[in-house]
Amino acid sequence: MSMQSLDIKRRSATTTPPPGVREPVVAGGVAKLIDVSKCIGCKACQTACMEWNDLRDEVGHAVGVYDNPADLTENSWTVMRFSELENEQGDLEWLIRKDGCMHCEDPGCLKACPSPGAIVQYTNGIVDFHEENCIGCGYCITGCPFNVPRISKKDHKAYKCTLCSDRVAVGQEPACVKTCPTGAIVFGTKEDMTQHAAERIDDLKSRGYENAGLYDPQGVGGTHVMYVLHHADRPGLYHGLPQDPQISPMVAFWKGLAKPLGVAAMALTALAGFFHYVRVGPNEVDEEDERKAEEEMRHD
């Protein structure tokens, strides 16, 4: 199994280490860079994603915004989020962000997942769900700082963007990258994408966006889906993109410290029991007690 195109680096709920003999030189892994300043919100990426992955979502309802569907679902692994803003100069801005899995370097979903092999992380950084191992518990959603995975009503398994791992495995770019008409979505090594982002940020700064920057949050170890934002100092403007996302301390604790603590608690209990048995011994009935008990019985 290790001689496949994408090697696994981490596997959910698994303590055995993954095969590590190969050392692919990948300059930080792959990365998808989404330049929000170039995006026109055309939803070609949503459509391409559905087409490539053979998914069809519901025909929903208009709810007063351009976002359709209104949220990520098991069939919509990416949605455009539209946010309107009147800025300090009194001018209008329409911030349109492509929402979807950020493919964290330190994935909260993988950490939280109790089912062995339901979530894997490849050496190139892609975080993929292997749904045949998924038990539909929803812990991945709790673990995700971006609220991305969704449980299917049809088969009770979790789904999200795969960063087109099947396409990347054969050397192709993800479907959304291929289809984006303005080139707002680009794909390559993380190093290259970071370099490209730097150029884009220079251009934005020259056009008056002083706080333009790259969204590559270090609280999750950096991500393999990054954004160029006009206002990198206020990611919350982009439909609630978290300022400093981190894996919830609850999850970190439960899957982290809680495990050795739990094992330690069990081991200590066993040890204490052993020592008690050795030193104090079992609560046995001796001859003295028997005699006293009989005497009490004769006197009643």
Binding site: K43, R56, G60, Y66
Partner: protein, 809 residues
């Protein structure tokens, strides 16, 4: 487009106005993205709404729908006042120095020669003064009071910043910023491109709006240069092909025109159209009109078109009036048209005033729909509840549906906005009984022809004598038709300078329209396409995208009309010595003997640059016209007129002149004038438009499109929503004097309340894509609301400015 898609990457300033390029042309828009990314270009958007284009723009200015002439007129005034013009260009390549006739006048919004009864002008006074030699009189110093320059300055002096702020609702500082950014391209080293679409055409003054934009570009020297141009982003795939092939009711292929009833004399018909030069040594290329016309007649009637019968001139219908779409539905309404073949068209959805159309279709004897999809028009007779509340029992129309193929099931060329004819091949077989439009039309023709042959008729000659040389007469191939459009020699063609030399053998395809003759020896179904299928074969099928000069000229990718010239008027990119104004983005230049370079010269190839021949070779003047003479219905200079449903009730430029409130030269049918709404009952200004997720009324049949934009909505500004107590996502009822629709309200910051003439003005946005058939959520046809009046020149309906009322549903 006068330029083309790829060329947009050369622009330094991109103005998107009267259109929403990112929304409607997301793929073509990548060239704007390129210009921004690699040319440091700045993008300006001027629009009633803050659109998807505005979301990626450097600067946005709001405007009241329909007031673009005021805005652009203000830009003209600004450029002239600041002298921010390309002097050499304006002086030499435009009619600024031409002297206009003394009896030309303009007063109170009307030009000389107005007939209020007929709602039209006698245009005799709209002309230049001629000298004794018959040529136009000029004053190169531009001092003469009746030079076009002085008249232009005077005309637009009324379009002050204050007027723009008052009448357009655009804050003064924003208007001035747009002027500044455009003015930055007046020099030879920078160019601006204007990208426009239906936001400019779908007005009763649409053609004039566009002309005003062109005038701004001429002042800046941006026509005929890389990164410049007046670029119409066409609204449908191959709509360019439709207009090129003359499918407008008054046209013949190649923008030739049908004769009117008064034009019974063939020689006169040709003479009027074969415009002679108005100045010495001008090409005035329309003077070859006879060659284009005769070649067309030979293509259509073959041997039946001879010198003796004036090339079958009697076979051409002579127009007593225009038979455009609005006229046709008016005729139906009056019971004068009883049958209709509706091909690839959904008029119940796409034409204005649904109620009027329903009445018209309901009184037809028969209606034939040729379409791959079921459409609202094909189902007009069915009751769909509130969405289409009709009683089928009352409708006697017999409806036939002939399923046709889709583009992917056919071979042929599509013509894009950049005039490129791009051949494509069949991808799959059509389903069921679907047949191509060609096959259906050919079979119809063939059967009608037989009937006429057997039974005779009022005048069957034009039909039975049509040349029909196709291998399978009931199903001509696209290739056969393409070759016919391009044209061939009917007889051996000899070199005019040496009659013993044969330059083209009979039956050979022609290489270009320069080979066309008016003696019946050539045939071409569309002269501007001549050369697209030349002696070397199908040039439209070429796919070499090499761009050897880096200026975006891919001459071996497909084929553009005319003659594969990619940037029209490219002679104007060079000075009087034939040197490019901007050597960094050179299109052509003069090498001492000939013109050549990155583009095919749009000029006589061996004509010296200083011999006086002007770059605008189709105009008899040889130069571009600020003064349109008799070319436009409303006047030689564009003038602002209010939309027919005006929120003001008067023209802010001439508040007292009632006759000049709305376009005095636009045709309006009596009943439709009566159906116009007034601002007391309909206080808000509405405009219709598209969304990226959909194409017209087709894609509501496609699941993927329906998923990403499922249900009808209207856009209301926060100001109006607050006033009416409408919450975001609530259902609202929007009504005009012609009907109502109900839709979800999208309450948005992107439509700001404007202040117009001192009062708040609310604009309402109405996307068009819903109807009562399809997989998207059912909706109302937006054209239930729109007025039945069109542009004074093109009859394009005024979909973009009308009055509505909005209330909670």
């Amino acid at each position: 487009m006068t330029n083309h898609w790829v060329d947009i990457k050369n622009a330094d300033v991109v103005l998107i106005m009267g259109g929403n390029a990112a929304e409607a042309h997301p793929c073509g828009f990548k060239w704007v993205t390129e210009a921004k990314a690699h040319n440091q270009a700045k993008l300006i958007v001027v629009d009633p709404r803050f659109t998807r284009s505005a979301s990626v723009a450097d600067f946005y200015a709001p405007i009241r729908t329909g007031t673009d002439i005021i805005f652009l007129g203000g830009v003209i005034r600004y450029l002239l006042e600041k002298d921010a013009i390309q002097h050499e260009y304006v002086r030499n390549y435009t009619d600024m120095s031409f002297i206009v006739r003394e009896d030309f006048a303009f007063e109170d919004g009307l030009y000389s020669g107005y007939d209020a009864e007929k709602r039209s002008y006698d245009k005799a006074s709209w002309d230049y003064e001629r000298g004794e030699d018959g040529y136009v009189r000029t004053d190169p110093t531009l001092q003469h009071p009746r030079t076009v320059y002085q008249l232009l300055k005077r005309h637009y002096s009324r379009y002050t910043d204050e007027m723009i702020e008052r009448a357009c609702g655009t804050p003064r500082d924003k208007f001035l910023k747009v002027c500044e950014m455009l003015a930055s391209t007046a020099g030879t080293d920078r160019a601006a491109t204007i990208l426009y679409a239906l936001g400019w055409t779908q007005h009763s003054i649409g053609s004039q709006i566009i002309r005003t934009g062109a005038m701004v570009q001429l002042l800046l020297g941006n026509i005929g240069v890389a990164g410049g141009g007046m670029n119409a982003l066409r609204g449908h795939s191959n709509i360019q092909g439709l207009t090129d092939l003359g499918l407008m009711s008054n046209l013949l292929p190649g923008y030739l025109t049908l004769p009117s009833e008064a034009e019974q004399d063939y020689a006169r018909y040709i003479d009027v159209r074969a415009q002679k030069p108005l100045r010495p040594n001008q090409m005035s290329y329309w003077q070859n009109y006879g060659k284009f016309h005769v070649s067309l007649m030979k293509a259509w009637w073959g041997k039946a078109a001879t010198a003796e019968n004036n090339w079958a001139y009697d076979y051409l219908p002579k127009l007593d009036k225009l038979y455009d779409m609005l006229q046709v539905y008016e005729l139906m309404d009056q019971g004068k048209m009883t049958g209709y073949i509706c091909q690839g068209f959904n008029p119940l959805a796409a034409a204005p005033d649904k109620a009027k159309l329903l009445k018209g279709f309901s009184s037809l004897k028969f209606l034939v729909i040729m379409d791959p999809l079921v459409t609202e028009t094909s189902e007009f007779w069915r009751n769909f509840g509130e969405y289409n509340d009709v009683d089928p029992a009352q409708i006697q129309t017999e409806v036939f549906r002939l399923p046709t193929t889709c583009f992917a099931e056919e071979e042929g060329a599509l013509v894009n906005s950049g005039r490129w004819l791009q051949w494509h091949w069949k991808g799959t077989e059509p389903p069921g009984e679907a047949r191509s439009d060609i096959e259906i039309m050919a079979q119809l023709h063939w059967r009608l022809r037989e009937l006429y042959r057997k039974e005779g008729g009022a005048y069957p000659d034009p039909i039975v004598n049509l040349d029909w040389p196709y291998s399978n007469p009931e199903n001509p191939t696209a290739a056969e038709l393409a070759k016919e459009y391009s044209g061939r020699a009917v007889a051996d063609l000899a070199d005019p300078k040496d009659p013993s030399k044969v330059t083209r053998r009979a039956g050979e395809q022609l290489a270009g329209f320069a080979e066309l003759r008016d003696d019946g020896s050539t045939a071409s179904g569309c002269w501007i396409y001549c050369g697209s299928w030349g002696p070397a074969g199908n040039l439209m099928a070429r796919r070499d995208n090499a761009d050897p000069t880096g200026v975006g000229q891919t001459l071996n990718w497909a084929w553009a009309w005319p003659a594969n010239r990619r940037v029209l008027y490219n002679r104007a990119s060079c000075d009087l010595q034939g040197r490019p104004f901007n050597p960094r983005r050179s299109l052509i230049s003069w090498n001492g003997k000939a013109w050549g370079g990155a583009d095919i010269p749009d000029f006589k190839a061996d004509e010296a640059p200083d011999a006086g021949m002007g770059p605008f070779i189709m105009n008899p003047e040889g130069v571009a016209r600020f003064f349109a003479r008799a070319g436009m219905a409303e006047g030689p200079f564009p003038e602002h007129y209010e939309p027919f449903e005006t929120p003001l009730g008067y023209n802010p430029l001439y508040p007292k002149a009632q006759a000049a409130t709305s376009n005095p030269a636009a045709r309006v049918f009596k009943n439709d004038l009566a159906a116009m709404g007034k601002v007391d009952k309909f206080p808000y200004v509405a405009t219709t438009y598209r969304l990226t997720e959909h194409f017209h009324y087709w894609t509501k049949h496609v699941l993927l499109n329906a998923i990403v934009q499922p249900q009808q909505f209207v856009e209301i500004g926060e100001g109006l929503a607050q006033q009416l107590g409408i919450a975001n996502g609530a259902m609202v009822k929007v009504s005009s004097n012609r009907g109502y629709i109900k839709a979800v309200a999208v309450v948005t910051k992107r439509i700001r309340t404007l202040t117009v003439e001192g009062k708040p003005l609310h604009q309402v946005g109405i996307p068009i894509h819903w109807g009562f058939v399809g997989v998207a959520k059912p909706g109302f046809l937006a054209n239930t609301l729109t007025p039945f009046v069109g542009d004074g020149n093109s009859q394009t309906p005024e979909f973009k400015s009308f009055l509505v009322n909005v209330e909670k549903a």
